[in-house]
């Protein structure tokens, strides 16, 4: 494969070609070939920076290949492939092009060696991904997409502002480790934080992911947030603040997920919670912790995609992803159910599943560095994960009360995509060294110790027992059709209300003022007209006598002046 600067280019070019490719099958094959080609462009390359040039006195580097970016490049390519395979049935050009552009932008951003390139692709992910939401083509999806886009572009412009300030401070646009020292780096941090769904900045995630198309959500779940994790890992490793942000992120979504009815939104909360683990890893910043973050991002992309795929397959067949409308589907879609359970066990970090080998890196790192309460929070969060992703998703979809859906098993290509993903989840869980071998730092860690396995099983199974008890006693909260308020209430309800209040005031004042002013103006014009209009004293034809009077007046005035 020739060296072409950035793998994003492959995706961009393909996105230009795809709309014109017929027939559909050929197009799908081309689509699937794109991630493979993209991967090939950097697969065998030695580490280094490629695609460098000078643009307006700035040093641009399109592709920086090192251990960190390589892992993310790899998993992004993989995710793109799986998502496209899962979307084999989609005939919508918009979605196909958007997926390519989105994945390409994600890869481009991961490989960006400088902040300007990062910004370009950062915004690229925002723009491309919104089409995956809009492509659902409903009123609700349109509105959600607008909100999503504004948040995402907001992140981009804050990043841009940060970059500008950073450039002016340091004279460089290289993307490397920076601390929270100046407004510039704070702005960049905030921009990353938005995409990473920091607490209070997180609602775009829960808002958008349930609104996207079935395949779109699978794609969405892979790139944006993990790109942010990558950016944080690159720019802010060891930033203490991140530990607490991350710990908070692991905890609060748990409660919202527990009462959420829309299963795709449950997964979005769960995604948020998983991101918390990664952010904590970045915040701790030791090699072990960073390894944990990278590994967890890698595994998480896979199992979260798997979960979204399985819920998506259900939605594809039944038309809904709401817990209150689902149940008993194991009878119709047993394979999907199995894949879903694999995903659920992975995310819950059962031994032999991928979550187990990655999450424990972060937990160990937090314990190693003596962050007891953070560690405790992560353990609590692990129980929470089991609750909403490990149990709730498969239970309410495939078991629980039978909602009566009698549908076909998911289509073959979906099953294939899920199967591959599930195999990867189990494979990584069973052979952790596969993953550990490509992590940025050398790994000296054994996940499978007796203590670890037993304690983890205790934690998970006792929690499962609690679930069983609660269900049997009827104390488990029922699934009800509802929406739950979250921080988005502030900008979907409070802010519009406040704004319309302000607008009302401004408008009222404006009207009042303009009425007065216009009244004055009108009376002024009327006065002018009275004086100057055709019948006005100034325009009338005056009798000679009064003209002479004027002469006398003027003469008198001038004479008086002359005598002063």
């Amino acid at each position: 494969m020739p060296e072409i600067g950035t793998p994003a280019l492959v995706y961009m070019v393909a996105a230009l070609i795809v709309p014109f490719v017929r027939p559909a099958t050929l197009r799908q094959i081309l689509l699937l070939a794109v991630p493979v080609l993209g991967l090939l462009t950097f697969w065998q390359l030695p580490y280094g920076t490629y695609g460098t040039f000078n643009l307006m006195n700035m040093h641009i580097g399109l592709m920086r290949l090192d251990a960190l970016s390589y892992v993310f490049g790899l998993i992004f390519s993989l995710a793109a492939f799986l998502a496209l395979l899962y979307a084999w049935h989609v005939r919508d050009t918009v979605q196909q092009v958007a997926t390519l552009l989105y994945a390409g932008a994600g890869l481009g951003a991961v490989f960006a060696a400088d902040l300007v390139t990062l910004f370009v692709f950062w915004e690229g992910t925002a723009i491309a991904s919104v089409f995956l939401i809009w492509a659902r083509r409903t009123e609700g999806a349109y509105a959600t997409g607008m909100r999503y886009l504004i948040v995402q572009v907001g992140s981009g412009v804050i990043l841009l502002a940060g970059i500008v300030l950073f450039y002016r401070e340091t004279g460089s646009i290289a993307f490397s480790k920076m601390g929270l020292e100046s407004p510039a780096t704070w702005a960049i941090f905030l921009a990353f934080g938005i995409k990473c769904a920091f607490p209070l900045l997180h609602n775009w995630l829960q808002d958008a992911y349930p609104a996207a198309t079935i395949t779109g959500t699978v794609t969405l779940s892979a790139f944006t947030t993990k790109l942010a994790v990558y950016a944080l890992a690159r720019g802010y490793p060891g930033t203490e603040l991140l530990i607490y942000i991350g710990a908070t992120m692991t905890l609060f979504p748990v409660f919202f997920a527990a009462v959420e009815n829309n299963l795709r939104r449950v997964l979005a909360y769960s995604l948020n919670n998983q991101l918390g683990f990664m952010v904590v890893g970045v915040g701790i910043g030791t090699p072990l912790a960073l390894n944990g973050t990278v590994a967890h991002a890698f595994c998480h992309i896979l199992y979260k995609a798997l979960l979204f795929m399985s819920v998506g397959a259900v939605m594809y067949r039944t038309g809904t992803s709401k817990a209150s409308e689902l149940g008993g589907l194991y009878k119709s879609m047993p394979l999907t159910m199995i894949f879903c359970v694999v995903g659920a066990m992975s995310i819950s970090a059962f031994p032999l599943f991928s979550g187990f080998i990655s999450k424990s890196l972060i937990l160990s790192a937090s314990a190693d560095t003596g962050h007891f309460f953070v560690w405790l929070a992560l353990v609590v969060a692990s129980v929470g994960v089991l609750e909403h992703s490990g149990i709730k998703i498969p239970y309410f979809t495939f078991f629980a009360h039978d909602a009566g859906h009698r549908v076909k098993e998911a289509p073959f290509h979906m099953l294939l995509a899920m199967g591959i993903t599930a195999a990867l989840c189990i494979g990584l869980g069973v052979f952790p060294s596969l993953l550990y071998g490509i992590l940025p730092y050398a790994v000296d860690y054994t996940p499978y110790t007796v203590t670890h396995v037993v304690t983890q099983l205790q934690l998970l199974l006792f929690a499962g027992l609690a679930f069983a008890v609660l269900i049997r006693t009827g104390l488990y909260p029922a699934e009800i059709r509802s929406v739950n308020l979250d921080f988005d209430w502030t900008y979907r309800r409070l802010l519009p209300a406040a704004l319309s209040g302000v607008a009302y005031l401004v408008q009222g004042t404006w009207r009042f003022a303009s009425r007065i002013v216009m009244g004055r103006v009108d009376s002024l014009i009327a006065g002018v007209y009275r004086a100057h209009g055709p019948q006005g004293p100034l325009a009338r034809t005056w009798p000679t006598g009064s003209m002479v009077l004027w002469i006398a007046v003027l003469l008198g005035m001038t004479l008086v002046l002359a005598y002063i």
Partner: protein, 501 residues
Amino acid sequence: MTDANALLLALAIPTIATFLIAASGSRPNIRDGISVVASIATFAVVLRLLESIMAGARPSVTLVEVMPGLVINFSIEPLGMLFATVASGLWIVTAIYSIGYMRGAHEKKQTRFYICFALAIAAALAIAFSGNLFTLFIFYEVLTLSTYPLVAHKETPEARAGARVYLGILMTTSILFLLVAVIWTWNLTGTMEFRAGGILEGNIDPAFVPFLLALFAFGIGKAALMPFHRWLPAAMVAPTPVSALLHAVAVVKAGVFTMLKVGTYIFGIGFLGRTGASEWLVWLAAATILIASIIALTKDDLKARLAYSTVSQLSYITLGMALANQMGIVGGAMHIVMHAMGKITLFMCAGAIYVAAHKTKVSELDGLGRKMPLTFIAFTIASLSIIGLPPFGGAWSKWYLLLSAADAGQLVIIGVLMLSSLLNVAYLLSIPARAFFAPPRGQMAHSLGAAASPSKGWEEAPLFCLVPICLTALGCIALFFAVGGIYEYLLSIPILPETAP
């Protein structure tokens, strides 16, 4: 052909074209052909000049001495050359587009339209090439007058009222403020010449600088600085090609170009920066950016929304001047190009929508994207460019304006620019998003599937409309990648006084 002759030729071609167009009024095909050929010829000459300017030539021609010491003089410097290139280049596109639009919309009095159009371009070029403030003022007024018939083209009561507001505000501001400012400058300095580093430093009590600047800033009504922006939305009664070329490119850009030119060559940005005289203008421009965006959000009429967007975007350029540093001038000048390319596309799209679907309201566009995909794709691209997102040209001008704000230490302005981007997203991107993805009104309640049904075939505007739209949309992308050259070129705008030999 010497540079000086080329300069005169560039001005002469559109002027002569007016006569030819008038003469061939009875034969529409020949008439429209002349207008296209003239635009291409003008652009060729302008390009030829551009080459010379980039090589360092500074041609200058003095036509006539109007009053002792006051001459009509044309001299080219990089900023003016840039404006001339943009205006004449986009004239070609619009000339082609006009054919499709005017015939498609069955407009009357097309001959008068083309005459005034060519005249307006000639005036715009004359403004671009003005060698002194006096010349610039003269052609500034000529431009106002030559576009008046275009605005009033439809001759309906609304058109008359709109044209009245247009003329009223532009004339009022230019006579009441700009002319006074020009004469004051003449009184102070005894010269009208555009000189690198400005002519005012040392000739004016620094306490008066903000006032003189205010006279200029408000006097240049074409820059649509609030509260003198009303003419721009009012001018939207004009046929769309007029809105496209004149109110996205030639007229409004003549305004902000004058603003940049006055800032650079009359005040001198060094002088402005040292006296802090433009500080208030920074805030006024920022306020205009935000308020106009918010108003745009509330507009349902497509062209009105675009007009307010233009008001907002023009203030970016004013802001660049007011920030008074080199990056501001570079950013402002670059925004002339980037915004022109984006906004002309948007207006032409609005026109195409009108011609093909007879829709003028944003709320009527739901589902239209499937019938006019190319138009709306172009609209999306141009919107993204205006918002300032990569990989579209607008990103770079915003980048330099941000750098300028950073250099000036104005963190709040950075915030304003960011907020403005978000508002742009809200009022611009929502249009194609609705067109493509919102279900047609009334159907949304029950048929989620209906929206996804395949299109019933394209119903695009005539080819004469469509091709220019696609060209300018591609231009938005091309500008992103071509920015290096533009940047190098813009650095050649002299901002420091030339050292005395």
